[in-house]
């Protein structure tokens, strides 16, 4: 058990990786996970370690990996996706929740300067969904669902968006929600003083002057360049709606339109929210939620086992710990399918990865099934170097098969000698195991990988996007447009491989201009094919997140960046 920081906190950065926040890498757990980190990026995170064998027994961990079979045959393309379905979660238990009770949640603190301002990179993530609502949220199949906006439409040129807002919604302080609040919220996100991670996503095609209120219930957004996927970007957890004029106070007041209202909040400390009986989505089952900040992962699990808390948030239990939890008489586990994707970015501007043949060889050289089995006991889904999860409606089922001989000949024709160093750290437990699994899997291709372990708490400042080859991870849950533009587009700040491909960028632009949803999907699939064939990122798998909760809790539901605060409760 690692009781110490080593990890900790998730430490922190503001984010944490342990969190599923997005963009922000997490911190070592020991400490504050997010603490300061970078602002935003989210790398994902959670610790799991994987331990040993077997399948974790009990209840809820339905961790079956529906891995799309690995290595198989030639490059097949099929328009995938069928029913996007259940990405989500298996709950510890479902069924009738009795009303009432206080749900106690342990969470890793973002940092000692965390805030309730949802736009901030230092926001206390777990409070956001309880206190606030967004214009739109994500549904279980990855699509866009109404929240404060009941409907939306876009002009034929994909430049002007109109949102019809929900009637009769009030903030926790009694003030009515109107389009002025929606305008203010978007402008607050774009304000450079807010330093919101989401500003970088939106600002390329949106500035404050384009955001206006047509009337009290209609929000108009005029973009600088076409974007047919704009609405999906508002599902982000930085986009929760705050009252007009509240920038200076929202960090402490937490006034939103969400299912719970704030009773108390202390940065990196304890806080309480109580049910909002007027919530437009229906009153929550529990009377209140008490949040406890616990920096150390093991301490969070201990709190669960000792029944001091009912749910451990943003914590991926390692395999051994999951077994301990399910063996206890009071706690159990639930699984969030494909919660994170792991990646080994190869710096596009560094030798030997400037050579397409080398990049292809590195992707072809490992056996995906072997790597996922070794790294996470198969608790996840093979990704075939495509970061778009199979549950995304735009997913492309395409892979280049594992082929050690071809990898060898590609390396030979590139004149590559066969030795390469990869960086990893204890920032997050899977990272180092993945490096080892990759190292062993590529031996048969003649690749000699040496592993360099760097300090966890400066990993994302000194190694990531600095060293030619390293290990990283992100949470899933971003809409496809954001995922591809934020992490793979030429010049994007989160483009961790510095990959630059103008044909790829053009396809993304075409998709944004395309009004026809089917054609747009085709563009996103074309983009995925380019990623698989020539990007500078090795993406071996999506990993499930195993969370711990009390056996008394029912209707736990979580996927992407969505957490169901309304229906979770205690069994009768």
């Amino acid at each position: 058990m690692d009781a110490t920081p080593s990890n900790a906190p998730e430490p922190a950065p503001s984010v944490g990786p342990e969190s599923f926040r997005s963009a922000i890498p997490a911190l070592p757990q020991g400490i504050s996970r997010r603490s300061m980190l970078f602002g935003g990026a989210g790398l994902v995170v959670a610790p799991w370690i994987l331990a040993a064998c077997g399948s974790s027994s009990s209840t809820a961990s339905s961790a079956t990996s529906s891995a799309s079979s690995g290595a198989a045959g030639g490059a097949t393309t099929s328009a995938a996706a069928g029913a996007p379905g259940s990405t989500a979660v298996t709950s510890g238990a479902s069924g009738a929740a009795k009303s009432g009770g206080t749900l106690r949640i342990a969470r890793p603190p973002a940092s000692t300067v965390e805030t309730l301002d949802p736009a901030s990179s230092l926001s206390a993530y777990e409070y956001l969904g309880a206190l606030y609502s967004r214009l739109v949220k994500q549904d279980a199949s990855g699509g866009v669902a109404p929240d404060l906006a009941v409907s939306w439409s876009v002009s034929p040129d994909q430049m002007t968006w109109t949102f019809v807002l929900r009637e009769g919604v009030t903030f926790h302080n009694g003030k009515a929600f109107t389009s002025a609040d929606a305008v203010y919220t978007l402008q607050h996100i774009l304000d450079p003083k807010t330093k919101s991670p989401q500003a970088g996503v939106l600002s390329p095609f949106l500035d404050s002057s384009g955001i206006t209120a047509k009337d009290a219930k209609t929000l108009m957004v005029k973009l600088k360049s076409p974007n047919a996927e704009f609405v999906s970007l508002l599902m982000n957890y930085n986009c929760y709606v705050i009252p007009a004029g509240s920038a200076a106070t929202i960090g402490a007041s937490g006034i939103g339109t969400g299912p719970f209202s704030l009773v108390s909040f202390k940065a990196a400390g304890k806080g309480t929210v109580k049910a909002n009986p007027n919530y437009f989505g229906g009153a929550p089952k529990v009377d209140s939620i008490e949040f406890t900040a616990i920096a150390d992962v093991q301490a969070r699990v201990n709190a669960l086992l000792a029944q001091q808390v009912d749910l451990v948030a943003q914590t991926n239990l390692d395999f051994a710990t999951a077994k301990t939890v399910t063996a206890s008489s009071t706690a159990t586990t639930a699984t969030v399918k494909n919660a994170a994707w792991y990646v080994m970015p190869m710096l596009y501007n560094a030798k030997p990865f400037t050579d397409l043949k080398v990049r292809q060889a590195f992707k072809m050289a490992y056996d995906p099934q072997e790597v996922i089995d070794l790294s996470i006991h198969g608790l996840g889904t093979v990704a075939h170097n495509n970061p778009v999860p199979p549950t995304d409606p735009n997913y492309l089922n395409y892979s280049v098969p594992h082929d050690p001989d071809k990898a060898k000949s590609l390396l030979a024709s590139a004149g590559f000698s066969g030795g390469q160093q990869i960086y990893t750290s204890s920032y997050e437990p899977v990272m180092s195991i993945l490096a080892q699994a990759y190292q062993s899997s590529v031996k048969s291709s003649g690749l000699d990988i040496s592993i360099q372990t760097a300090s966890a708490d400066s990993y994302y400042t000194d190694v990531w996007i600095k060293k030619p080859f390293c290990v990283s991870y992100w949470y899933t849950g971003r809409p496809v447009d954001q995922l591809l533009n934020q992490i793979f587009r030429t010049g994007s700040s989160y483009n961790e491989s510095l990959w630059a491909d103008t044909s790829f960028d053009k396809i993304l632009d075409s998709a944004r201009k395309e009004a026809d949803a089917a054609k747009r999907k085709q563009y996103y699939q074309d983009a995925q094919k380019i990623l698989v064939d020539s990007s500078a990122s090795i993406v071996p798998f999506f990993a499930d997140r195993i969370i711990g909760l009390s056996k008394k809790v029912v209707n736990y539901k979580e996927f992407g960046f969505e957490f169901d605060y309304v229906n979770i409760g205690f069994g009768a």
Binding site: G30, S35, N302, Q308, S458, T461
Partner: protein, 319 residues
């Protein structure tokens, strides 16, 4: 004579504290990463980083920043936390109180336990009580404190539910809450700390009991209890005093790990966060406190030794 000795000790103590702060400062400069990038995020524009760097005076040379800090510190001004902008002294106040409670209870319980067990072991040399006590203390010395802490949690909090497993309150928890939560962390620290002192006490009791003056006192027919309490014990404690002092200083560092396991809002927790944030003023303050504890506990051990042994009061003859 004694005055001169004390003056020398105090000067050394001061030097120790200053050296500790220099070492901490230098070590922090050697760590990769800096506060401005930690706060602003990895994709912050370079001019924003430069601006914050200047605002935090991180662009000034290290020696100048250190001297500035030292200048403030001698006037009792320990500066402002770079991460939270709070005054360091008030920021650390609650954490210090919590660690003081934990350390105080640990010291009282640990030393009492250790002295009693050490004496029992020494008096029953090689018989059952000694074998048990010596064996257990060897085990306690060998087990890392976080393993011990985790075992205590599993047994006393999870299985038996006697005590809470972790502290769910922040640093400003009420004293009542802290006292309610202190038993397990105090037990973990007491056990590790006591183990070392038990070994020392046992050896020392065996030596003293074999000495001529104890034999003499016994031969003269003094009651065994009087021999023990008035003659043997004070002399047996002498060699153990420095071990006790070192263990008290160890507490300041040892709590870091134990506090993490129990989510205990003490100085160790604050230190972890501060290291992570590269929050130099907070760490410097903790370094001063740690060095102070070290110096004072050693000083007290020497004074206690002097009190216990009249010969030490007159240095000329003692040597």
């Amino acid at each position: 004579m004694l005055g001169k000795l004390m003056a020398r000790r105090l000067a050394l103590a001061l030097l120790t504290i200053v050296l500790a702060t220099v070492l901490v400062f230098v070590a922090l400069q050697a760590l990769p990463g800096n506060l401005a990038t930690q706060i602003l995020g990895k994709d912050a524009p370079p001019d924003a980083v430069a601006q914050l760097t200047a605002q935090l005076h991180l662009d000034r040379p290290g020696w100048l920043r250190y001297l500035t800090w030292l200048g403030g510190a001698v006037h009792g001004d320990f500066g402002t936390s770079l991460a939270t902008q709070q005054r360091v002294v008030s920021l650390a106040g609650d954490y210090l109180r919590n660690t003081a409670v934990l350390a105080g209870i640990t010291i009282v319980v640990g030393i009492t336990l250790a002295v009693i067990l050490g004496v029992v072991a020494g008096l029953t040399r090689d018989r059952l009580p000694d074998v048990l006590i010596s064996g257990l203390s060897l085990i306690a010395m060998s087990v890392p404190e976080f393993t011990l802490a985790t075992l205590l949690v599993l047994v006393c909090a999870v299985k038996l539910a006697w005590f809470p497993a972790v502290v769910t309150d922040g640093p400003d928890a009420s004293l009542g809450t802290i006292l309610h939560n202190v038993p397990l962390p105090a037990a973990a620290l007491s056990i590790v700390m006591a183990a070392y002192i038990v070994r020392m006490m046992r050896t020392s009791v065996i030596d003293v009991m074999a000495s001529e003056y104890v034999a003499m006192a016994t031969l003269r027919g003094l009651p065994r209890r009087r021999v023990l309490l008035h003659h043997a014990l004070p002399n047996a404690l002498l060699p153990a005093l420095n071990v006790i002092a070192i263990n008290i200083a160890w507490l300041v560092g040892g709590v870091v790990v134990v506090e993490a396991v129990f989510n205990y809002p003490g100085i160790g927790t604050l230190m972890l966060t501060a290291v992570h944030n590269r929050d130099v003023p907070v760490l410097q303050y903790i370094a001063v406190i740690g060095a102070l504890v070290y110096v004072v506990s050693n000083l007290l051990a020497d004074l206690a030794a002097t009190a216990l042994n009249p010969r030490l009061r007159t240095p000329a003859r003692a040597s």
